[in-house]
């Protein structure tokens, strides 16, 4: 496989000082250092220091602005460095580098522009009832808006085609992009595909979406998605 067939791994990291070294080591088994871009989202722990001791590319955002900004930075970087694909890979250690090829394959084959990896089989974790209900609501809502079922629209394990990178570098949702980016992809005419993958359980168990935030999350995502349907792209 030629050099230009290789993706950029975009790794969002917010206060992942405890996990990021292991994540980078894992990624280095499948990618060269210059193919890995860690973006610290205004971390206040030692994330930056840990990443700088490794050979991978690193961006440090001056303050926390959400994973959407991290991805915008990543897509821009992928464009400037002419990567044909990008893989979004969480910095908290729940994704497995060896599984990335599963979501990359359909993108490489030209079958889709965005492949979303969802937890499969034994790697399914016990989620709180509120989380399960929330995910069902979002999945149902997305069927209404996009006419397609998405097994886990909140998954942050994704592969992007060059076309998807170009469109998203130019226009991407803010704050919580996972669900809205699916609606936006539909508006852009990008093809989506879900792929079952094995994931590790979340370490520490804390989600970036907290209880009070989850109410705002649902309202914001619903409102933004509905208004996206009103826009012309």
């Amino acid at each position: 496989m030629s050099e230009r067939d290789r993706p950029l791994y975009i790794v969002p990291a917010y206060n992942e000082g405890a996990n990021i070294a292991v994540v980078i080591a894992d990624l280095l088994t499948v990618a060269a250092p210059e193919e890995i871009l860690v973006v610290s989202d205004g971390s206040t722990d030692d994330t930056a220091a840990v990443v700088r001791r490794t050979p991978v590319a690193f961006l440090e955002l001056p303050f926390n602005n959400g994973v959407a900004t991290v991805l915008k930075a990543g897509f821009g970087y992928a464009l400037r460095h002419r990567f044909p694909y990008a893989v979004q890979f969480d910095g908290d250690g729940q994704h497995i580098a060896a599984e990335a090829e599963k979501i990359l394959a359909p993108v490489r084959a030209g079958q889709c522009d965005i492949a979303v990896g969802y937890r499969f089989g034994k790697s399914r974790i016990v989620s709180s009832k509120a989380r399960v209900v929330g995910r069902m609501l979002i999945s149902g809502f997305l069927i209404l808006l996009t006419g397609q079922y998405h097994a886990d629209p909140t998954s942050g394990f994704r592969a992007y085609s060059r076309r998807a990178i170009e469109r998203f570098a130019h226009d991407f949702p803010d704050e919580f992009p996972e669900v809205e980016s699916i609606v936006l992809a539909k508006k852009f005419g990008l093809r989506l595909h879900g792929e079952p993958v094995t994931m590790r359980p979340r370490r520490g168990g804390k989600s970036s979406i907290k209880f009070f935030g989850s109410i705002y999350y649902m309202i914001k995502v619903t409102l933004a998605s509905l208004i996206m349907m009103l826009r012309r792209y």
Binding site: P62, F63, D174, E175, Y216, K220, L223, A224, I227
Partner: protein, 146 residues
């Protein structure tokens, strides 16, 4: 007696004017988000205000009940109070948002200053390095001819 009842019961005309105004605010907010002139985060309280005020204006029994609970003798004042509460909430929200923006602005300022300094140091180092280097082929005619 009849006169007193007319004073407190909202007239149909008043209801229509208030409802049209509220619906306009709602639609304007949606349109501004659609045009990306307004972020969802800063539109939510405006939308909430519209959604809460509409039933108060159109549903008089509800307005009466809430006025009784709040001890407000003149029910239309409840609508005004609700609107004022939302205005206070929106203003406070803006003050907090503005403070956050100022904090971020300062971080950006410091980051830019730091980068300027690092870039200048790098340039000085580059100049020194190239001054210490032996002349290259391209430089040769100039230094030789001088």
């Amino acid at each position: 007696m009849e006169h007193a009842a007319n004073l407190t019961e909202l007239l149909v005309r008043q209801k229509i004017i208030a409802a049209v105004f509220i619906v306009l605010i709602f639609l304007l907010t949606i349109e501004f988000i659609r045009r990306r002139a307004l972020k969802e985060r800063y539109a939510l309280l405006w939308l909430a205000a519209s959604v809460v005020l509409i039933p108060l204006v159109l549903w008089y029994e509800l307005l009466l009940k809430i006025s009784k609970v709040l001890g407000i003798a003149y029910p239309p004042a409840t609508i005004l109070l609700t609107a004022i509460v939302f205005i206070i909430l929106i203003l406070f929200h803006f003050s907090v948002a503005l403070s956050k923006t100022r904090r971020h602005e300062e971080k950006l300022l410091l980051r830019i200053a730091e980068q300027d300094e690092r870039l200048a140091a790098l340039e000085r180092e580059m100049t020194q390095l190239s001054a210490n280097l032996p002349p290259t082929k391209n430089d040769a005619p100039e230094s030789g001819g001088g």
